[in-house]
């Protein structure tokens, strides 16, 4: 009898604990290929729902996913929807007139003071594609794939400063300390790939996004879920390169030596954590090979460089977008791209909607279009969800900082309406959801917010945003906080 109970107890333990699992596997498999032992065990640990010995083990989604991975292109600084997507002929007619009081009463702006003037769109709009979608002359390439895209024209937020608005968009809260979307996704789904990080961050534009690295941080989730920043200069991943003079062969020998001694240590102490360390060193070794390979865009054929407008060796948005394609191709779950410099206040030429913004668009338009085409020609567009957007929109009024007109044409931060688009990953093609008023000031139909977008992204990945939770400070937290509605209108 005792034996039966004991056995049942042990069986439960074996099911519950990776520690036990590893030990048993280890005993049965000997010292062969410990790294390959990483597979889908149940999670148990001192923190809820996470196996700290193998926190990136692949997890079952809640239901069959439409998308396997996400490329999220965040234009940090907030691009002007009125120069790119939201065609408002009525606004053009009001150019130079005082902004009506009704738009100003009870409103707060970051920099507009007193009564600003209305400002016509500086771009020219035309209809494109079978869907007849309006696009501006700032985006000549994107017109070629416009029917692949689904637009959200009435995105709103409640934050009108960059850092909090970016945090809200990427972590679901305007305050620091919450896990980023990529962290939630890797926590929820783990990694299909043992040789690359699960969640990669690429930045361009000369600066990190305003909210800093916290925006790809793991918040209260274990730090293993934070985004790994891959860089186009220096080491692609920090410390990935062997020290000078160390050949691959020698590195292999050194890791073998470490692991042999660690195995001895395991035999003495029986601490399963040692076995994890052995496999993590094997993994590190494999990452050292695969990361530089994937991060090297030199090997791409000329026509691809032509398509994306990439120049190997530089830090550019185009290079990062091409890298993103390579990364998802190699099984990376979530690629987050930040391009800094979209904050078109009109305080100088770079930040003018008729000068600097054109340059930003030029550098973005071609590679984003290339990405859609490239994913499509590789048959990957169905599996990869591409998301494009900023953290808020821009005012239909010209900015008048401290009550006086700015030196160049510019627009202030605006929380009530902006445009985002999605493509691939099971999203419907050529849909436009949401609408703003005649001058693009307010969203009047089909309003969505950051939590809705997050819920939709998780849904496409096969997760119910209400069930992807983590207990912290006595409360079940989730990416979408207490909100979030899936935007069904744009789903295929």
């Amino acid at each position: 009898m005792e034996k039966i109970f004991n056995e049942a107890y042990l069986r439960k333990l074996a099911a519950d604990t990776r520690r036990n699992f590893l030990k048993q596997s280890f005993l049965s498999l000997g010292s062969l290929a410990l790294g390959s032992l990483i597979s889908c065990e149940r999670k148990v640990s001192n923190s809820p729902g996470v196996d700290l010995s193998n926190p990136l083990a692949p997890q079952m989604p809640h239901f069959a996913p439409k998308a396997k991975s996400v490329i999220y292109l965040h234009m940090a600084g907030a691009p002007s929807q009125l120069e790119l997507f939201d065609y408002k002929p009525e606004l053009d007619k009001l150019d130079g007139q005082d902004c009506p009081q009704s738009f100003l009463e009870g409103k707060k702006f970051a920099f507009i003071r007193g009564v600003p003037k209305m400002l016509a769109s500086q771009a020219k709009f035309r209809q494109f594609g079978e869907t007849g979608t309006y696009l501006s002359n700032y985006l000549p390439h994107l017109t070629n794939v416009v029917d692949e895209l689904s637009f959200l024209k009435a995105v709103t937020t409640d934050q009108f400063n960059h850092a909090p608005a970016q945090l809200l968009m990427q972590t679901g809260s305007a305050r620091l300390g919450r896990p980023s979307m990529g962290s939630w996704v890797t926590y929820g789904l783990g990694s299909e790939n043992n040789n690359l990080p699960a969640f990669v961050v690429l930045t361009s534009g000369g600066n990190n996004p305003d909210a800093g690295k916290s925006i790809w941080g793991s918040g209260f989730l274990p730090s293993v879920y934070q985004g790994v920043q891959c860089r186009s200069e220096g080491d692609p991943v920090l410390f990935i390169q062997d020290p000078k003079g160390v050949s691959r062969d020698l590195r292999k020998a050194s890791i073998d030596a470490i692991n042999k001694i660690n195995l001895e240590e395991y035999k003495t102490y029986q601490d399963p954590e040692i076995l994890s360390r052995i496999s993590q060193y094997e993994l590190a070794y494999r990452m050292q090979i695969s990361v530089p390979e994937v991060m090297d865009i030199n090997s791409e054929p000329a026509y691809i460089h032509e398509l994306y407008g990439t120049e190997p060796g530089k830090t550019s948005l185009a290079n990062n977008i091409l890298l993103a394609r390579k990364l998802v191709e190699n099984g990376v779950r979530f690629v987050q791209i930040y391009d800094w410099g979209w904050d078109s206040h009109g305080t100088d030429a770079d930040l003018a909607i008729d000068i600097g913004l054109k340059t930003k668009c030029k550098n973005m338009d071609r590679p984003v279009t290339a990405l859609i085409m490239d994913l499509k020609q590789r048959g990957m567009l169905d599996d990869v969800l591409v998301v494009w957007g900023g953290e808020f929109g821009r005012t239909p009024m010209a900015e008048n900082r401290e009550g006086k007109p700015n030196a160049f044409k510019g627009r202030d931060h605006h929380s009530e309406a902006f445009t985002m688009f999605m493509a691939g990953g099971g999203v419907a093609k050529g849909v436009t959801h949401g609408e703003t008023d005649e001058i693009g000031y307010s969203s009047i139909a089909g309003k969505v917010n950051a939590h809705d977008i997050q819920a939709t992204i998780l849904h496409q990945l096969g997760m119910n945003h209400e069930n992807l939770t983590y207990e912290f400070q006595g409360r079940q937290f989730r990416l979408t906080d207490t909100e979030g509605k899936i935007i069904k209108e744009i789903l295929g």
Partner: protein
């Protein structure tokens, strides 16, 4: 016993367990409350109160819902609506609504509990710590009373405790735990020679006496204090607050009793005769973030900082998750929504207002200036009242109480420059509300004049009201930056709105700013006596002196007091009823004669009636030594926190901590490390692994990966390069290029020179939005908000740090040099020396042969290479190969783990 007999016996036990429930006394906390928490409280608790009924507070649970029926009638389950609603067959009425019914066991537990009188009880952690009797365990293994608790617990789980670890491991373990890195001294040598108790104790005492002890434990505290060298948010500019870190190191080193340690950090500024040290201590709660992003609302981020102070105080010092009470009553624990804001009120009256310069600041004067202040004080004593003297001296020390110009509004041709400072153009007007002018004779202010000339006035009540102060054209000269200026005020009584007006015909461009203000200080004026001139000059010299500063707490004077309101759903834009400072009803007792401010709050927390403060610290010390706390959820001991592994032991130590050790942290640590429990061997037996895989019952020694700080400090120490210099501004050891890229912030990482880069991890510059990468990889946190415990992970990126980070390659080279010296330059002989330096152990034959053959392999590899291709500037293939061997050693599990 034969098998069948055994089985029957088992059945009897099993059945008697189920049938005896009727007789057994049901315990609310362990049996009933978990059922409520799991099934009922999400709809009938602090967040929702469906049907007007809640199970959060006793009075609510025994009261009536909207139906008018009483929820719980003690002694009568049948008459209790709660019981009726869990057993009814009517699915519309049956609770939990639209979910699976309670199990029969759960229902009968509730029924029996009600019939037995429904004795309500506070959660254990909210009851004061009582004296605990020590279990009567006795055997040779036991070293002190801690062991009796552990032994009892372990035997109940059928676990056999372990003997003492080998001395090498124990010496290394205790050094890592007490001072943060392995050390060598004569006491350690004595102990290694003979492991008797006296030798162990001498060694432990020596560690506790070492100055490096304070650095280790202050390091732990920095996570709780969310200490960083930057302000956070978008611009994340630098902040000079390292003197607080040094204060912590000193406080731990002198073993400041924990009650004083907390009091000084929470309310040092309010202590009688508070000096520089007490003020620096209050920087604990000035480690909140400041938002410099243009266009942000300063009141919003001031409020965010106060909320952070409230949440940090509860989470880190009282193991209670309080942040949920910001929006609604606590979902599970007896703390109401309004109690959050009563607590908030304690912190809502400090001078900080999210200003760019982090005001209020303590001004650090040099010794000569301090002497001047003393002389001035003596002189003032003979001229003015004590309170006037204190105000003048206080102003010298903190430049408070001043009105920040960012509180101005009603702008015409004026604006807050970058939402920070009042900037005025030609024909400008701005308002400063509610200034008490009674008795004020002088206005001292910090201003910058960009374009000289013009006319600046202070008018009362409206822009054209009576002028009470002004600056004439001649006096408005261009300033090179900020300047401090004093003007006279004509006497007015009462509280008035002030209108500042400014005209300057020199401003041709209507958009040009002529003058800008930082702060205004309305004061009684420096005493005007025949001999006052030199003293007044001294006074202005002091307040104008460029000195270093630290952000501190300064309480508002009555004129500047803010009201506190409950925020509806936690949103500061929706204030509801006003509240006064107060503490939650069910937690602790408000001490008699305690002032109703932060000092009183500190007295409440450190009173021996307080149930959480001692338990939290004991739990934290335990976690530092064993890898996890006696209550694993360091952040929450409430009813949703983890069940304690050994609550009697936690209470026993908490009681001793307060009553026997008089809050001495060193005594507490010593008691624990002297126990047989701590000294155990960490090798696990098969049985232990099966019965207690995570070692929660501590029948074997803890085996835990080192913290980010320990990994760095240990590497520096064993390689012989650790620079033991203490204190001072933060340092920048090697970091790869391109890590810092903050927008709107020109700060850059400037590598510290010489052996400054070999100082302990605690001195490394901590930038919130971009912390030191190798430490983050080993689970250090960004410190945007407090962290109660770090979750240890095991990732390939960690391997990459210790394998490839040039810091660790450099240290491998240093280790090989050190070992070579000891082995008189003999390479092969140096390998076991390196191993012993790094692990504290003698190498065994097998490991030595692994390292030797790796050396041979590396050597033949390097012999085929040119010296230009050797790592770390090595000159010979031998030294290149040896560096790699040492690199291997520094990566061993036994090096980055304590056994």
């Amino acid at each position: 016993m034969k098998k069948t007999q055994k089985f029957i016996f088992f059945l009897i036990i099993l059945s008697s367990f189920f049938w005896s429930c009727n007789q057994k006394k049901i315990d609310y906390n362990t049996q009933v409350k978990p059922i409520f928490n799991k099934n009922c409280i999400s709809c009938h608790g602090g967040v929702k109160k469906q049907g007007g009924y809640s199970l959060l507070f006793e009075e609510e649970a025994f009261g009536k819902g909207k139906s008018g029926k009483t929820g719980i009638v003690p002694g009568n389950a049948e008459a209790s609506e709660l019981y009726q609603r869990i057993i009814t067959e009517d699915s519309d009425d049956r609770m939990p609504h639209e979910k699976a019914p309670l199990t029969n066991e759960e229902i009968s537990t509730i029924k029996d509990w009600i019939n037995q009188g429904a004795k309500w009880d506070l959660h254990w952690a909210y009851k004061p710590v009582a004296k605990v009797s020590v279990p009567e365990e006795n055997n040779d293994w036991i070293k002190n009373d801690i062991d009796r608790f552990i032994l009892k617990n372990a035997s109940e789980k059928g676990l056999k405790v372990s003997g003492q670890a080998i001395s090498e491991d124990l010496a290394r373990r205790s050094a890592l735990d007490i001072i943060g890195f392995p050390t060598d001294n004569v006491f350690k040598q004595e102990f290694l020679k003979n492991s008797r108790d006296q030798n162990y104790e001498k060694y432990i005492d020596e560690l506790l006496k070492s100055n490096t002890y304070g650095e280790k434990w202050a390091g732990m505290w920095l996570d709780l204090a969310r200490y960083a060298d930057t302000k956070g948010y978008e611009r994340d500019g630098g902040r000079n607050i390292w003197r607080y870190r040094d204060w912590l190191i000193k406080a731990f080193n002198k073993d400041m009793p924990y009650d004083q340690f907390l009091t000084q950090q929470l309310a040092g500024d309010l202590l009688p005769n508070a000096g520089e040290d007490q003020f620096i201590a209050t920087a604990f709660h000035r480690n909140t973030m400041t938002n410099d992003e243009g266009g942000t609302d300063n009141e919003e981020f001031r409020t965010a900082a106060v909320i952070d102070r409230v949440n940090t105080t509860w989470q880190t010092l009282m193991s209670t998750s309080f942040s949920c009470v910001q929006c609604h009553s606590h979902p599970y624990d007896p703390i109401s929504h309004s109690e959050y804001y009563k607590f908030f009120a304690f912190f809502n009256n400090t001078r900080d207002e999210d200003t760019y310069d982090d005001y209020p600041l303590w001004r650090h004067y040099n010794d000569a200036q301090k002497t001047d202040i003393q002389h001035l004080g003596k002189w003032l004593k003979t001229k003015v009242s004590e309170s006037q003297k204190n105000e003048i001296i206080g102003f010298i020390k903190t430049l408070q109480p001043a009105h920040n110009s960012l509180k101005c509004d009603k702008f015409i041709n004026a604006e807050l420059n970058d939402t920070k400072w009042l900037a005025m153009r030609n024909n400008a007007i701005a308002r400063l509300k509610n200034v008490n002018l009674t008795g004020k004779k002088s206005l001292i202010m910090q201003l910058g004049v960009f374009v000289g000339g013009g006319d600046w006035r202070v008018n009362i009540d409206n822009p054209k009201g009576k002028t009470i102060a002004s600056i004439s054209s001649e006096e408005l000269k261009t300033t090179p930056g900020w300047a401090i200026k004093e003007i006279k005020i004509s006497p007015v009584n009462g509280i008035h709105d002030l209108y500042f007006t400014y005209k300057n015909s020199g401003l041709k461009d209507p958009n040009q700013t002529g003058i800008q203000f930082d702060w205004f200080y309305f004061n009684d004026g420096f005493p005007a006596t025949t001999d006052s001139k030199t003293y007044k000059n001294k006074y202005f010299q002091l307040i104008k002196a460029k000195v270093e500063t630290t952000p501190v707490m300064v309480e508002n004077i009555p004129d500047l007091r803010r009201k506190t309101n409950v925020f509806v759903k936690g949103n500061w834009l929706y204030p509801a009823e006003e509240v006064n400072p107060g503490t939650p009803k069910y937690i602790g007792k408000w001490p008699k004669n305690a002032p109703n401010n932060r000092l009183g709050l500190a007295m409440w927390m450190t009173s021996k009636d307080h149930p959480l403060v001692a338990r939290t610290m004991v739990n934290r010390v335990w976690e530092q030594l064993f890898g996890f706390g006696l209550v694993e959820t360091m952040e929450d001991m409430g009813s949703q926190g983890a069940t304690p592994f050994n609550q009697p032991l936690l209470d026993y130590l908490s009681y001793k901590f307060m009553y026997d050790y008089n809050w001495s942290v060193k005594k507490l640590i010593k008691e624990i490390v002297m126990s047989a429990t701590y000294r155990q061997d960490s090798r696990a037996t098969k049985e232990q692994l099966e019965k207690d895989p995570q070692n929660k019952y501590l029948a074997r020694g803890a085996r835990v990966r080192l913290s980010a700080e320990q990994i760095r400090d240990q590497a520096l120490a064993v390689c012989g390069v650790l620079n033991r210099e203490m204190y001072g501004p933060p340092l920048m050891p090697f970091q790869p290029e391109g890590i810092w890229n903050s927008p709107w912030n020109g700060d850059y990482w400037k590598r510290s020179e010489g052996n400054q880069q070999y100082r302990r991890a605690i001195y490394t510059f901590w930038k919130r939005t971009s912390p030191y990468p190798s430490m983050i990889t080993f689970d250090a946190m960004g410190r945007e908000v407090c962290t109660s415990r770090r979750i240890r992970t095991n990732t390939p990126l960690q391997a990459l740090v210790t394998l490839n980070d040039s810091v660790y390659v450099d240290l491998a080279a240093k280790l090989s040099e050190k070992a070579l010296k000891i082995s008189s330059g003999k390479i092969i002989e140096s390998i076991p020396v390196s191993y012993q330096l790094a692990t504290g152990r003698v190498i065994n034959a097998q490991n030595l042969s692994v390292l030797k053959s790796f050396y041979a392999k590396a050597l033949s590899d390097f012999r085929r290479k040119k010296p230009a291709d050797f790592p770390h500037g090595s000159k010979t293939p031998e030294s290149a190969a040896l560096i790699l061997v040492n690199n291997v050693i520094l990566n061993l599990d036994e090096v980055i783990t304590k056994s």
